[in-house]
């Protein structure tokens, strides 16, 4: 097990290294010149040249990349071109908000998704099932921007139950977490439904029924624990899904997370910030996948760690 974990960690580090390389090269190939973005429209050619020189943008690609990696290993992600602040500080000030939102969204999607999935599986092919599956279809397809605005309008503006965007209290968290969790809820309800249906067909379920156990007991003690296993392994992978979702949701609700930071940096070609946010999200995704793989054998011994 230990050597397996070690190997997976090493693999993850290599993947992250690859991501830094690809992102760096892509940003380098971008026709937009960061020096010109910093210099603004009134700058003379000398000013632009001077900025490019100071930032080392004249160096060959591999020198720039090598310098970036060297600094990164020492924990220095550089300073934002535009804000001039340390990238690590910018990210650190925003990461807690994003993590909180992500955690709340996972809870939300599991609560909604699993409940719907269980009910649909138990009422398979009946009107309830069809209605719930249409709901899950809608929640998967609907753009998060639209859902976010809709929730805001109904629950914050019309009903006044929640604040109109912002950050700080539990009430601020509810609508963004719902919006972000909504998409996952659709997926989870479908997975839970099919997983439940499969388990319900198993021999041990029939045996339990033959033993004379009550239906509730069969479902709670025998079906659910087995049906839920493949779902838990999915949560880690979800983190990747959320990384793209939070950019939209954070911007709708004014949630001060790293999605908001990334969006602004991309607009202004603020390369150190783009690199930093990409690194943090990539790390989250890689760790999420790693976690999913490590947890899987623990909950299902049939999966071997090789």
């Amino acid at each position: 097990m230990h050597s397996y974990v070690l190997r997976r960690l090493l693999e993850s580090a290599l993947i992250l290294l690859g991501i830094t390389l690809v992102t760096f090269v892509l940003l380098y190939l971008l026709p937009a010149d960061p020096a010109r973005q910093i210099a603004g429209r009134s700058a003379t050619a000398e000013t632009v040249a001077n900025i490019r020189d100071q930032l080392g943008l004249n160096d060959p690609l591999f020198v720039q990349y090598g310098r970036y990696l060297w600094n990164l290993f020492q924990g220095d992600m550089g300073r934002s071109y535009l804000q001039r602040a340390e990238v690590s500080e910018l990210i650190a000030s925003r990461l807690p908000a994003s993590l909180l939102l992500m955690l709340a969204a996972i809870v939300t999607e599991l609560l909604i998704g699993l409940t719907i999935g269980i009910i649909a599986a138990l009422r398979r092919n009946r009107p309830v099932d069809h209605t719930l599956m249409i709901f899950s279809f809608v929640s998967i397809s609907a753009p998060q921007f639209v859902i976010g605005i809709l929730l805001l309008y109904v629950f914050a503006v019309q009903l006044g139950w929640f604040p109109i965007g912002g950050y700080g209290t539990f009430a601020h968290l509810v609508l963004p977490a719902l919006t972000l969790g909504f998409l996952g809820a659709g997926w989870y309800s479908r997975m839970m439904r099919s997983s439940m249906i499969e388990v319900l067909r198993q021999d041990f379920v029939r045996t339990a029924a033959a033993k004379g156990l009550s239906k509730g007991r069969i479902i709670l003690r025998h079906v659910l624990p087995n049906a839920i296993l493949p779902i838990i392994a999915m949560i880690g992978i979800d983190i990747g899904l959320f990384m793209s979702g939070i950019v939209v949701v954070e911007s709708v609700f004014g949630w001060p997370g790293i999605g908001q930071l990334a969006w602004q940096a991309i607009q202004r070609v603020d390369i150190p910030v783009i690199m930093g946010v990409t690194m943090v999200s990539a790390t989250a995704i890689v760790l999420g996948n790693l976690l999913a793989d490590l947890v899987a054998p623990l909950i299902d011994p049939r999966i071997k760690t090789k």
Binding site: L30, P31, A32, D33, R36, Q37, I38, A39, G40, R41, S42, A43, T44, A45, E46, T47, V48, N50, I51, Q54, R79, L82, Q83, R84, A85, L90, S93, R94, A97, I149, L152, Y153, A156, V157, I164, G165, G166, Y167, G168, E250, S251, V252, F253, G254, W255, P256, G257, Q260, L261, Q264, Q267, R268, V269
Partner: protein, 541 residues
């Protein structure tokens, strides 16, 4: 809806006028307001901040020697008690007001002026505004990283600073009113280093009390401000991270006073058709022109008749309708609120028939195929489609290149890449209200260089010489002649038709009932979206 038209013509003299009674001096002090923004503030360092969002915030946190009468484009003395210009226009002497101090309590002296101007022009500061100070003697060596500061700036005594220029420049007063010329305390900059932009210390009407990244900034009244009775509000809170659509909802619920990003395009008609909301909208001009550049170095736009034909083919009224009438059609580079605007100039008529004929006479009876570069954010692609349609009427086939802003700017900076660019989203908004500001970088030879902003690559050396002559006409007695000279320069530019001026955007500022002030303060040409210093709360007593 209240409408406001600014008159700029007589407002250009370099010396300060007495207050124009635009501002309600007796307005009560107290209260607060909430301004919303989508994007977080990049920086509040006056040497670095250069976007429309932080521009007016910095104006409220810092002061320069010069400033503007609220709601106007009229220069006035700010930290300077007096401002004298020598007869040859080269020596500019400023005397500081008595008893003025920074937010940290230290008195402002002439040495601070020298320090601040040398900081912004120091290449290590990497200021986007350094180029504005090119007329100060010694700029070239200092900005190249040599020497010991700006030799043109001399501290005469604690209260007096003398600035010598290498060439007479009538815009120098405006340059001293730019944010880049704000006076900053050396000790605070030294202490905070690169983080000065997060923790600014100036001498403006407000101090920064709180900045929580991605959430809010809070400005509080600076009690030691050098103008008595200013600012009116005790506190201005900027709520960050709110989509314009969400900001509008907040305003309607009374949870915000000014949506800083304006009325979202999708909701514009809805707001304007609702009398209750439309009453709270103030419309005003903007120092902005949206235009199509025609690359004079690329065939067939190297042919003057082709450029004229394109000018005659574009239906500007229709484009204005596309953006719900949020602009007025333009026929020249300068916007109507800018001194030097030629009111009696009629421009190229909209005449597709004549344009087709002109194109045929120029040797293109069957038209040609070309490319139009455009920034990929609404409404610009829709405007590009309208242009495409107009030009197809005269036989020109236009392929639209929809790109991110930075990529369009990069394409424009290459001599042979973009035959046509629609400037929307990157259009010129004046840095200061002077006609010269629309020339150099975007129409002069200096901008027609790789990486420059003169995307039509128009370089007319005779006009460049006349522009330099006009800027050498300093002093209030020459103001009128100078304005006339600039007016003629732009008319001569139009004779060469390197641009199709399309429209001048209007500003529509929506506010809550809780704040008030002269209408001009809500469409202040220098402070966007509103002049934070002079607006007052209706709840204050």
């Amino acid at each position: 809806m209240r409408k406001l038209l600014l008159t700029g013509a007589s407002t250009l003299a370099l010396c300060a006028f007495p207050a124009l009674a635009q501002v309600d001096e007796d307005a009560p002090q107290g209260g607060s307001m909430i301004v919303t923004y989508k994007d977080d503030v990049a920086t509040l360092d006056p040497a670095i901040g250069y976007d429309w969002q932080n521009w007016s915030m910095i104006k409220s946190l810092f002061d320069g020697l010069m400033g503007y009468e609220p709601g106007t484009t009229t220069l006035r003395n700010e930290l300077a008690a007096s401002y004298d210009i020598s007869g040859d226009g080269l020596v500019h002497t400023f005397t500081l007001k008595d008893g003025i101090s920074f937010h940290n309590g230290r008195e402002i002296t002439a040495a601070d002026v020298k320090y601040s101007l040398e900081r912004v022009t120091n290449p290590e500061t990497r200021s986007p505004g350094a180029g504005f100070f090119g007329m100060i003697d010694g700029f070239d060596t200092w900005n190249a990283g040599e020497g010991e500061g700006l030799s043109g700036i001399e501290v005469v005594n604690d209260k007096t600073v003398r600035i010598t220029l290498s060439r007479p420049d009538a815009t120098f007063g405006h340059v001293m009113a730019l944010n880049f010329a704000s006076i900053v305390p050396k000790e605070a900059v030294d202490e905070k280093g690169e983080d000065f932009g997060r923790d600014p210390v100036g001498s403006g009407a407000f101090t920064l009390a709180e900045w929580t990244p991605g959430q809010r900034l809070v400005f509080e009244r600076f009690d030691g401000y050098h103008r008595a009775g200013v600012p009116k509000l005790d506190q201005v809170t900027f709520e960050i991270g709110l989509e314009p659509t969400v900001a509008l909802l907040r305003l309607q619920q009374g949870q915000a006073d000014v949506p800083g990003d304006g009325i979202p395009p999708a909701q514009f008609l809805q707001v304007m058709n609702d009398p209750a909301q439309a009453d709270n909208v103030i419309e005003g001009g903007q120092l902005h022109t949206g235009y199509i550049t025609l690359n004079t170095e690329m065939a067939p736009f190297d042919n003057l008749d082709v450029r004229k034909a394109v000018n005659m083919a574009v239906n500007k009224d229709r484009i204005v309708r596309i953006i719900n009438g949020r602009a007025v059609p333009a026929n020249q580079p300068l916007p109507p609120t800018m001194p030097g605007y030629a009111e009696d100039y009629e421009g190229y008529p909209f005449d597709p028939e004549g344009a087709r004929q002109m194109l045929a006479d120029a040797g293109f009876p069957d038209g040609f195929t070309t490319e139009l570069y455009v920034m990929n954010v609404d409404p610009n692609p829709r405007i590009a489609q309208a242009i495409q349609q107009d030009l197809s009427e005269i036989g020109i086939t236009v392929e639209i290149r929809n790109l991110a802003q930075a990529n369009v700017i990069a394409a424009g900076g290459e001599k042979d890449q973009a035959p046509m660019i629609w400037s929307g989203g990157m259009a010129w908004i004046a840095d200061f209200p002077d006609p010269s500001n629309f020339y150099g970088p975007i129409l002069g030879c200096a901008g027609a260089v790789p990486g420059g902003w003169n995307w039509s690559w128009y370089c007319n050396e005779a006009l460049d010489a006349r522009a330099a002559e006009a800027d050498a006409m300093t002093g209030p007695e020459n103001a009128e002649a100078r304005e006339a000279a600039w007016r003629q320069i732009y008319l001569d530019v139009m004779a060469d038709a390197p641009w199709v001026p399309v429209f001048n955007e209007q500003r529509f500022t929506l506010t809550s009932d809780a704040i008030a002030g002269d209408a001009s303060l809500f469409v202040d040409p220098v402070h966007i979206p509103v002049n934070y210093d002079y607006i007052y709360s209706t709840e204050a007593e």
